[in-house]
């Protein structure tokens, strides 16, 4: 087995392997490690925020540092934790689910990861000199006035990581369109693959708006333009539009894969095919389509006028319809099933009520005049944490339990899994439910302190206590990972009696995934073979040599080039000598591109003999 050979290699060899890998599974694991690291960092920032708000007029951290903390918490969680964790899962699982041996552009995949990671590192390096402090939404003109280089780090860091995300989106799209196994028609694709597909479309159309916004912001801050500077004829509301034309679809970029994850886990553990598959696919497209039509509901109080507010209010509420379809289809999948409740399923079952609350408050926020009260208060904070923690984070944790055996060949410990679940789940509701009321009781968001004698003390105290529960849950989850790595139960190929293609191959899979292309005979191909055939997927081709891409260090070098150039851009404002870094960095990046373009790399072949030798 390939695991045996990896164990014999030294640390240096493993490190080099990961630095140069273009294997979608290893890139996926890199995404999970990178995203996981930033998730912990963002969590720490959240805890500091909650400690600051434990009592009225607290001075645990200063006002300026507090604004840096909220900005970095939001930015980190959205761009550097949630998105990459989901992209890691998509990277790992989607090619296995469609019966592919890798993604369409393996080199680009690796480049996408390194760009995301370097963008995240760049952004977090700002902690040493002053982090961005204008909120994760970075509204002009506050962001233009922000002293120091914090906002510059925000702009360059997100530009880098955004480029990586955009590349991955394109890569996934091409992979799904062109690399499905024989018989894997669109309407036989698992829901997680479908949501990866739709998410990639969203990424493709949403991220350019952010890119444009960030470029304008970069020029305003570094090169003296005035796109957002009112005094010189600019307009700061334009930033809000650009940001939210990206920002709202981004919410769906996060939640649709989460829906996909739950649509895999529920049928597996209910032992029943997904209820209303066609409607689920249709609802996914509807959500994505409507998701582009509602960005101005983040701007109801900007003064766009009653016509715009009314249109965006109705469009926003309309999203409840396809979302409702999904919730009821999941419920009806459970109905009549034979339900096993383990850690993966606990996170999934907890998602349904938690996310439903988030969806409900979403409709409530969509009612524009009601939003005049909710807007920019803790009500909104509660709402989006119900959606993003109760939806996305629960999904990521469910997916970890579900696919961990496939990825690492071991099953996460159930007892620890349940302990982590219950503490996190209780902590989550303690932290955020009360915040709905805090908002309506007059507590705006992004408040460094709340004053004494305003009736906000108890609510904030409860919220902070909840945050400690959540922290405890995450620590238990980390302990679980370490425990499982050392003593975890070995996983068979199909530990859950699951339904989709990824469970038909070894855990973890060989680096070429499928020895022979699988022949797909319907939705849930493995389930079909288990219930109607001999339990084995029929190959679609005779055993033959496999063509695989070569590893390359170029993506990393190219990224280092961009990283150096970004640093140069930030500091050339202070001293022109930093332009050396800009030119030097770009030279490295463009040089790497030239090498990549001019040097032929035909990949390598795994011979038939090798494949036969590895046969089980």
């Amino acid at each position: 087995m390939s695991t045996a050979t990896t164990q014999k290699r030294g640390f240096g060899a493993v490190l080099w392997d990961y630095l140069t890998t273009v294997d979608h599974k290893k890139v996926g694991i890199l995404y999970l490690i990178g995203g996981g690291f930033f998730f912990l960092l963002g969590g720490l920032e959240a805890l500091i925020i909650r400690i600051q708000l434990i009592t009225p007029e607290n001075d645990f951290i200063s006002a300026g540092l507090y604004n840096e903390m909220i900005t970095m918490h939001g930015t980190t969680m959205i761009f550097l934790a949630a998105t990459p964790l989901l992209f890691g899962l998509m990277n790992y699982v989607m090619p296995l689910q469609i019966g592919a041996r890798d993604v369409a552009f393996p080199f680009l995949n690796s480049l996408g990861f390194w760009l995301f990671f370097s963008g995240g590192i760049l952004l977090n390096l700002s902690w040493f000199t002053g982090a961005p402090d204008a909120g994760w939404t970075n509204y002009a003109p506050l962001s233009l006035q922000s002293p120091g280089h914090g906002v510059d780090f925000y702009v360059m860091g997100l530009q880098l990581s955004g480029a990586g995300t955009l590349m991955s989106g394109i890569n996934f799209l091409v992979t799904i369109v062109t690399m499905r196994a024989p018989g894997m028609t669109y309407m036989r694709m698992p829901l997680f693959t479908w949501t990866t597909f739709v998410t990639s479309i969203l990424t493709l159309f949403a991220f350019p708006a952010l890119t444009v916004g960030l470029f304008l912001m970069m020029f305003d801050r570094m090169f003296g333009t005035a796109f957002f500077d009112v005094a010189l004829g600019g307009n700061s509301v334009i930033w809000q539009h650009l940001f939210w034309i990206f920002g709202h679809p981004e919410v769906y970029i996060l939640i649709l894969p989460a829906f996909g994850i739950f649509s895999e886990i529920i049928p597996t553990f209910a032992k029943k095919r997904l209820f209303g598959y066609t409607a689920m696919v249709f609802a996914t497209f509807m959500i994505a389509f409507l998701g582009f039509m509602v960005w101005a509901h983040h701007m109801f109080t900007v003064g766009l006028g009653p016509v715009a507010n009314s249109i965006f209010a109705i469009a926003t509420m309309a999203i409840a319809v396809p979302t409702g379809i999904k919730i009821f289809n999941w419920l009806l999948t459970l109905w009549g099933g034979s339900i096993t409740i383990n850690s993966a399923m606990l996170w999934t079952l907890a998602f349904i009520p938690s996310f439903t609350i988030g969806g409900m408050t979403g409709v409530m926020l969509g009612s524009a005049v009601a939003d005049y009260q909710y807007h920019d208060t803790y009500f909104v904070v509660a709402h989006f944490h119900y959606v993003i923690v109760g939806g996305v984070v629960f999904a990521i944790l469910a997916a970890m339990h579900y696919w961990w055996p496939k990825m690492f060949g071991r099953i996460l410990h159930e007892g620890l899994g349940k302990l982590a679940f219950w503490t996190f789940f209780i902590g989550f509701h303690l932290t955020f439910f009360i915040q709905h009321f805090l908002g309506l009781m007059g507590m705006p968001r992004r408040y460094w302190v709340f004053l004494e004698n305003q009736g906000l003390d108890t609510g904030n105290l409860i919220s902070t206590i909840g945050a400690f529960f959540m922290t405890f849950g995450i620590i238990v989850f980390l302990i679980n990972i370490v425990y499982t790595a050392m003593k975890g139960e070995k996983a068979p190929a199909d530990p859950w009696d699951a339904r989709t293609l990824e469970w038909s191959i070894a855990s973890p899979p060989a680096h070429y995934n499928f020895k022979q292309m699988p022949l797909v005979r319907g939705l849930d191909p493995l389930w079909i073979e288990k219930s109607e055939g001999n339990g084995k997927i029929t190959p679609a081709e005779p055993l033959d040599e496999i063509h695989m891409p070569n590893s390359s260090i170029l993506p990393l070098i190219m990224t280092i080039g961009f990283f150096i150039a970004s640093y140069g851009f930030i500091y050339q404002v202070d001293h022109k000598a930093w332009l050396i870094a800009v030119y030097g960095g770009m030279a490295i990046a463009i040089g790497s591109m030239l090498i990549r373009s001019l040097k032929d790399d035909h990949g390598h072949h795994i011979t038939k003999e090798e494949l036969e030798r590895e046969a089980d």
Binding site: P141, G324, I325, Y372, M441, G442, P444
Partner: protein, 350 residues
Amino acid sequence: MKGWMGKSKALFLFTMLALFLAGCGKENLTALEPKGYGADKSMELILLTTIIMVGVFLVVMLIYVIALIRFRKKKGKEDFIPKQVEGNHKLETIWTVIPIILVLIISVPTVIATFDLADDTQASESISVEVTGNQYWWHFSYDGEEVVTSQDLYIPTGERVYLNMLSSDVIHSFWVPSISGKMDVNPENVNTMYLEAHEEGVYWGKCAELCGPSHSLMDFKVIAVSPEEYDQWVSDMQSVDPEAVPEDAVAQEGQELFEANSCVACHAIGSSPAATGPNLTNFGDRSTIAGILEPTKENLVDWIMDPESIKPGNKMTGAYPSISEEEADRIAEYLMQLKPSEITPESAGN
């Protein structure tokens, strides 16, 4: 709207009562006890949507709980393979159509209320106030009255007061939860909203858009008084003589220091439109110092000596030569005596 209100009035009152019992925050701050027209409109929609959504939630939870109890894997039937159901057109149609109807039910009053609150047909015959948002204080200038103030906005009860709002720096958001929802205060365009308070009182106002380190300290007050008291207040403010010399010697010294130390370069007394710093015409009547502190002389001295320690990032820090505590005390004495009117936050029920 009227019909809906009538039918669900009992439900409305019941829910209000439930909210009261649950504790809904500080009176005159919380949006859950509306005391103005805009806050009423928001509250109606909050209640309507909450009731519908809680209903939806209960349906979801009912199916969810029954499914989980009835369809857990049974002991002794581990090998049971459930029927693989593809879907059900009738059910799927039902849960598509019902949400569409619910959305429509919410949409109609939402659109009506949205246009209602944006109505500016009465603006020309109403009181209107130019509101300027600044880091981290509010400037109020009454149109056609030559009355200028800051931090405390006086309005008459029972009538619309139009606010034309513009920011001098970054985006702020004007929010008086008990009277009305919020509206952003942008640097590029004048946003208009109206306030209509039902009863007299001192209402808390807050800035709701991140505007810098002291964003959370940019509080202000709306002081709603009877129309007669309002007229009285306006005429009191109009009759202020900015040059008037205070009677006692300490305050006189304070006034001289106020002028000598360039305080007066930013802070106007009287109806001067200058708005570099807060207008101090009725400073002695103010409900707070710097928007957040109790209105005592000690607090004012602390503020003058070191504003940075109270409001980080404010524009007053470093704008004047350092002064001794004694001098600050005299300036404070002078400012605390600026009480042009009998109509104060106290008289309005602070």
